[in-house]
Symmetry: C2
Subunit: 257 residues, 2 copies
Amino acid sequence: MITARQNDWIKLTVRLLSSSKARREEGLFAAEGVRLCMDALKSGAEIRLLLFTARGQEKYPEEIRQLRQKAFRAEEVDGALFEKICDTQSPQGILCLLTLCPDTIGAVQKGKRYLGLENVQDPSNVGTILRTAEALGMDGVFLSGDCCDVWSPKVVRGSMGAVFRLPFADCGNMTDAVRRWTQAGIPVFASSPGGEALVGETDFSGGGVMLIGNEGNGLRRETIEAASLSLKIPMNGRAESLNAAAAAAILMYEMCT
Amino acid sequence: MITARQNDWIKLTVRLLSSSKARREEGLFAAEGVRLCMDALKSGAEIRLLLFTARGQEKYPEEIRQLRQKAFRAEEVDGALFEKICDTQSPQGILCLLTLCPDTIGAVQKGKRYLGLENVQDPSNVGTILRTAEALGMDGVFLSGDCCDVWSPKVVRGSMGAVFRLPFADCGNMTDAVRRWTQAGIPVFASSPGGEALVGETDFSGGGVMLIGNEGNGLRRETIEAASLSLKIPMNGRAESLNAAAAAAILMYEMCT
């Protein structure tokens, strides 16, 4: 049983929970809690390490049995140490380190529906957006290089496991990606309070990419200009704008129904 | 200048920031930051106390001048003490205590569009929902007695000031409120994954009340049964459900457009 914070697996886990640089360098991320770990298992994610506590073993014996079968390695961890390294309040005593796949979308396909996030910074927003994208039936999500890290614990948790099922890709600079897509004949829709068309009157039957911008500043001007069409949500009230996750929900809903 | 944590105004502020019971008992709530305080001022809220720091005075002299004109009382607070009592990371040195109005809706009117929240617990969700309700042009929001407190600092902040402009009321038990509304001929729509109609095919031209339920359990069965119609959002994906704020955004969008 691991009892020391200096243990290499513990040190690795702490780094993966706190640093996106560490996740990129190691090609791994952490999922904590029985539900997320089982989501990872069902989605066929590669489980490099399972950490569990005696209490986790007692409460979730069947889940831990299944996870152990697929994990490259499993280690029992002292309960107090486990609580210290987790970033949740009452951890369930199950944590997996998983291999991250930098691109599960591959080539963009005509007729499919994608979301593109440019410089979206808040992990709760990104988590909620991914959960919504999965629920409404989007085919994949592109994130610009300056978005918050999709493999951070807050995003993984907030997505309710959508990170394990939705295809993703880091598309680098969003303006450049939009130019590539439009040149390939993929419609790209830029959401913006100053949009030229109303989202409810737009034809989404040909699929395409729906772009959502930064919480404070929206999409970059160059990105809006590179898109096929800019869209707005009709706002009758006095508020300046919608929260990014609320706007994304409405835009994806219109695209998917 | 107030320098002691034991000062009565400071003790009152700390209680109002942390306890919904204190807010109810005192009939006051706190708004922190220059933007929220100016929102309060513009909306005509009664400013019982303005607390400001030397740094706030230096950065926002005009705003503090305007707030002082309307405030019953204004006190300068030591910067370090101010930072300690605020629940934000880098406070701007401006905080107001405001009189809360338990009901600014009054009688429900036919043809108007209202939101009803039953047992919605997460302050970030409630804040986002209020911001969305204002942006889309809803006429008011009813909260059941078991929702999280709308005057908590997280909700006030997350609403981006919507709490100062949107009419609100605590409607007590939501099932009873729904029965009163339907008996008065007000249409009441219950959102539920098992809803009988699709939200996109529903006629909202007569206005009414759109109900949103608890994050984990949704609306109570009795509340759904008391409503005029139950609605669902079509979900193509594998996710079990949408986040409450995302679902609310889609439902209010359909109601308002």
